[in-house]
Symmetry: C2
Subunit: 374 residues, 2 copies
């Protein structure tokens, strides 16, 4: 494995799966948002894998997490492994980039038809439910009435469950991985990340130029997120208290700013590397927009009671908790699944044993597949 | 309780204990530092409680944590409660502000005799062992040869144990609370906090003017620290997913920067409040200096083996882990105590059951006292 792989802590990449088609869908008219505002003719960027069969009963919707894209075959390839969860021969897989993102769908970087200039900080709050509403219109256009399966991890799992609540007659099964409504600790972590971006003078109130993004703020936000995606046992095993592999010495007064900063430990070098990689691929305002979708997801919101919301569900639900996840603790996921079970449908809960924390559904895909096959 | 108390999450203050004397001790000559540099005639600010008896066998050293001061009677008053751990009638209690701090001892804000201007970013790395070396010279000047007890929580516990290793013949008993060498996750949290301060343009490479400190960076650093001092269960119980108590609504597009930031949740308001309170009382460079003392504490460093270091100890050691502490997990403290037990002296380990996380040794003092009496 290259040093960059050691640094990123990623597994060697498996063979990527190419989409059958990748393109844009522009909503006809406007999309009303729960926040009270609307998006005029927003674009959804999406990718499809495989073909819709004549009976139109082989459609699967994969929903991506915070910094994901429509190219599920690239970030979740092992889900397509022979005998795994999805099959290009059998299924028609659709993955749609979230509104607010920077991977093709309408987000803060897009032009606001009302003003002729980019939304920037005026991009409205687009929640998980708003995304599901928009996604349903795209599936309609593809001739997909019913989903054999809707699935996702983290923010993707929020969307999959929201689909089962909002469109009970359109979802046969939903697979919800490593997620529950964000806890106070999760809200706290997102609050810290927002400040890291806002405090960067380059952010300029969200009106920065594309060529001058708030790199340091977004890097710090990503680093704060990374500690919540991984686990203490993994960090101890991989980095421990070792000095940074570049040769910096944390124990002397030399190094950056001598006594106050000094040489890094290896975990510091790893986090800096993760931050740098991220700012090369993601936009700060898009990050803020999607953090807010994550913060505000409350599937019972607008219903008389959680029972009223979850009682609508007709899909078979499967929840997966991750043993070392402290952003969405397995116990929170298990309890959440139990609340839903009591309100409705058959729900099963499985636990993935992994040192990778929340990130396990992406970092240990083969393990996830094994668990789902069991 | 006032709203400010709700916000700070603090218990109602108990009666503070006044010191018998508070003053400065200037080291004669220089203090050699493990990093290879030295401090010329550094000042130690300290406070004493009670009186040294004729036999000079009633001295106790209390060591403070990251942002603490010499006034232990103000930040740890319940330790002095009748029948508790310390007694002003029986003991002669000494508490010394750490080098690098901003509460009276020499730190980055002090004038460097070599240049005639403040150390600022040139303040050297002053580790836990360096502090213990300086503290020993102050105790010599007070006629204290031997300590009946050395104790502290967090960074204070690091100093108490370092005393037992460096001066085996001078410490009868050491009480080490909620601490072990910092794990990779702990090093990661400090790495994030350093960046939050460094990224603030007001920090200006550590050469900011006292009247223009990096307030936003230090506030964010404190907020990052706060999530590691408390626990997810406590945050859920106190703040949950409630909107900020000021009336902000996280679910609408109004509020600060409409769609990208929006109204805060209550946990966000709590963290902002904690950050604001902290910048009013602490200095950013001092914070960086002490973070580094915490990062670099490795009690076995410089010895042939951990056994060689811990085998020197003659003091009776007591360790306390805190059930919900995730900065210094109870399991890490227990394992650390076991390593020391195998190398030397009688060591006992006790666990404090609390929802307050690492902060419990300060937030639930009565509980801590009960545990120590049991």
């Amino acid at each position: 494995m290259s040093d960059s792989f050691n640094r990123s802590g990623a597994s060697p990449p498996s063979k990527l799966v190419e989409p059958t088609y990748e393109g844009n869908f522009v909503l006809d008219g406007s999309l009303a948002l729960d926040c009270g505002r609307e998006l005029v003719a927003p674009t959804l960027h999406y990718a499809v894998y495989g073909r819709l069969n004549a009976a139109r009963d082989n459609a699967v919707l994969v929903c991506h997490a915070l910094s994901g894209s429509a190219l599920v075959g690239s970030w979740w390839p092992e889900i397509f492994a022979p005998g795994a969860v999805l099959s290009i021969e059998r299924d028609f897989v659709v993955c749609i980039n979230m509104l607010g993102s920077c991977y093709g769908s309408t987000g803060p970087g897009a032009v606001d038809p009302a003003t002729g200039s980019p939304y920037g900080p005026d991009f409205p709050l687009v929640g998980v439910r708003d995304n599901v509403r928009a996604q349903a219109r795209l599936l309609d256009s593809l001739g997909i009435r019913r989903l054999r399966l809707a699935l996702g991890g983290s923010l993707g799992g929020m969307q999959a469950l929201e689909w089962a609540i909002q469109h009970p007659d359109r979802v046969e099964r939903a697979l919800v991985i490593g997620v529950a409504p964000l806890s106070a600790m999760g809200l706290a972590l997102n609050h810290l990340q927002r400040q890291a971006i806002q405090h960067d003078p380059e952010w300029t109130g969200g009106r920065y130029l594309p060529q001058r993004p708030p790199r340091r703020g977004l890097s710090l936000a990503r680093q704060i997120a990374m500690i919540s995606y991984k686990s203490a046992p993994l960090f101890n095993e991989r980095y421990g208290r070792n000095p940074d592999r570049s040769g910096e010495d944390p124990y002397v007064a030399e190094g950056a700013l001598g006594g106050l900063i000094g040489g890094r430990f290896d975990i510091g070098g790893y986090l800096d590397h993760q931050g740098k990689r991220f700012v090369d691929r993601f936009d700060a305002n898009a990050y803020l927009a999607i953090l807010r979708a994550m913060d505000t997801w409350d599937p019972a919101r607008g219903f008389e009671s959680p029972e009223a919301a979850f009682g609508r569900i007709r899909a078979r639900l499967s929840f997966v908790g991750i043993s070392t996840d402290w952003l969405f603790p397995a116990e929170d996921v298990r309890r959440f699944a139990e609340v839903i079970r009591q309100a409705c449908a058959p729900v099963d809960y499985r636990e993935m044993v992994s040192d990778h924390g929340h990130d396990a559904f992406l970092a240990e895909q083969a393990e996830l597949v094994r668990l789902l096959q069991s």
